[in-house]
């Protein structure tokens, strides 16, 4: 009876076993890398907004404090996009005829809110509260970057779980004094670890790496 398979089939069989393993690992690696890349997390790309609002102009140039518009960050879970009334506080007198501000005037006239596009959108299975982070010494720029230098607003941090847990497991690397929370240009000092450990103690910062801290 003639042989069904040629002798070379042995080598091909061995190679294909190795090849299958390598291919599987490669696909896994690509999925892992792409899922954590800015392509998947949506970092660094400002979404189109109904009004091309510039934090660089309002906060960086005019020196308006974060809390003028986002005062609820200090008290509640959400920092809050300000209502049209807050824009109108100043824009009832300045830049009245700017075509860029047409949606603001329209919104004020009709009472229909401006539909801003959310830049930092956490998955719906994540609980997040701004006020506790501010109380424990996490500055705005730690997560949002130097917003007061952004012409249009984009997401700086990946906002994935690994990124959250990095700080939740080692807060001393990231926390700052409460007096510096709204300083967008704050940089960790050379002795950050020493400072961080002192603040962790002083502000009673707990590590909070339990599932139900964020997944409630």
């Amino acid at each position: 009876m003639p042989q069904v398979f040629h002798r070379s089939s042995n080598s091909i069989a061995r190679l294909s076993i190795i090849g299958a393993a390598v291919t599987a690992a490669l696909i896994g690696a690509i999925v892992y890398i792409v899922a954590r890349s800015p392509l998947a997390t949506g970092q660094h790309v400002p979404p189109a907004q109904p009004v091309p609002f510039s934090h660089a102009h309002h906060s960086g140039g005019d020196g308006i404090d974060c809390r003028y518009c986002h005062q609820s960050a200090e008290y509640s879970a959400v920092a809050g996009v300000p209502p049209t009334e807050t824009c109108v506080n100043c824009h009832k007198q300045i830049w009245l005829n700017s075509p860029n501000l047409r949606p603001v005037r329209e919104s004020e006239r009709t009472g229909q809110p401006i539909q801003w596009v959310k830049v930092h959108d956490l998955p719906d299975f994540v609980y997040f509260n701004h006020s506790i982070h501010i109380k424990k010494g996490v500055g705005c720029s730690t997560c949002h970057g130097e917003v007061n230098r952004m012409q249009l607003t984009w997401q700086v941090a990946p906002l994935n779980m690994g990124w959250c847990v990095e700080c939740h497991s080692q807060p001393e690397r990231f926390v700052r004094p409460r007096s510096e929370i709204y300083n967008m240009q704050w940089q960790p000092p050379a002795n950050q670890l020493e400072l961080g450990r002192r603040l962790v103690d002083e502000y009673d910062i707990q590590k909070k790496v339990y599932c139900d801290t964020c997944h409630r």
């Binding site: 959400v78 009334e85 809110p113 719906d124 007096s179």
Partner: protein, 233 residues
């Protein structure tokens, strides 16, 4: 939601085709391949939906259901949220039996003044300026210039007047009731009083050691003392 139903449609279509093929060709292999594909597709759909966007409203979400387009609902008329009864007229209305007051509803401590400074710098400085002269950045950009806090009339106004202006606005100034919360309003008023004092202080009112410092200023060697102040805002 839509992704899931779409993949379910696809799955039905594929599965249906597989059955027809099986009847026509009589081969089980075809049906197996379609089954495997269908299971794989289910995984794809699970990846894509992933509970990332669940069908509930988040704060400030838009809504097609309500005429004003907002998912956030205003309070129904004649209701009071729990914990917001606000019976303390002094703290919440800035008056006592409807008459103006010149006292604070809580003791003004250094902490209150510090809070007042932060809140003043966040909400008032754009127009009133850091020293309260009315030369803030928005005024320099063309907004009506407010009266200086160091003006004789404002120096003599009661605390109630300031509280009323924060809540109801005055002249070109809009209401800040939604942006500044009651206790912070009082903290801001305390800080405004401190600003007024700072511009009209008498040297003799200073403690002895500060007078000494004023008469014999330290040599510029201690040059970094100014930087500590920056962190205040």
């Amino acid at each position: 939601m839509s992704i899931r139903s779409r993949s379910y449609d696809l799955w039905l279509k594929l599965f249906g085709t597989g059955q027809r093929d099986a009847r026509q060709t009589g081969g089980g292999l075809n049906r197996l391949a379609v089954g495997v594909l269908a299971v794989a597709l289910l995984f794809v759909s699970a990846c894509a939906s992933n509970h990332r966007d669940q069908p509930y409203y988040e704060a400030q979400d838009p809504s097609a259901f309500f005429p004003d387009g907002k998912a956030d609902r205003p309070l129904p008329p004649n209701t009071v949220p729990q914990g917001q009864l606000r019976l303390d007229e002094h703290l919440y209305q800035g008056t006592s039996n409807g008459r103006p007051v010149n006292t604070f509803p809580f003791p003004v401590t250094a902490q209150v003044l510090q809070r007042g400074q932060q809140q003043y710098n966040a909400h008032c400085v754009p127009c009133h300026g850091f020293a309260g002269n009315g030369d803030g950045m928005i005024v320099r950009r063309g907004y009506s210039r407010p009266t200086s806090y160091h003006d004789e009339r404002l120096r003599n106004e009661s605390l109630s007047h300031y509280y009323d202006v924060i809540v109801n606005g005055y002249g070109a100034m809009p209401s800040y009731a939604d942006q500044v919360y009651p206790r912070d309003r009082w903290a801001i008023i305390a800080y405004i009083r401190a600003l007024q004092l700072s511009q009209n202080a008498n040297v003799r009112d200073l403690p002895a050691e500060d007078q000494e410092l004023l008469n014999h200023p330290p040599t510029p060697a201690a040059g970094d003392e100014g930087e500590g102040e920056e962190g205040g805002h």
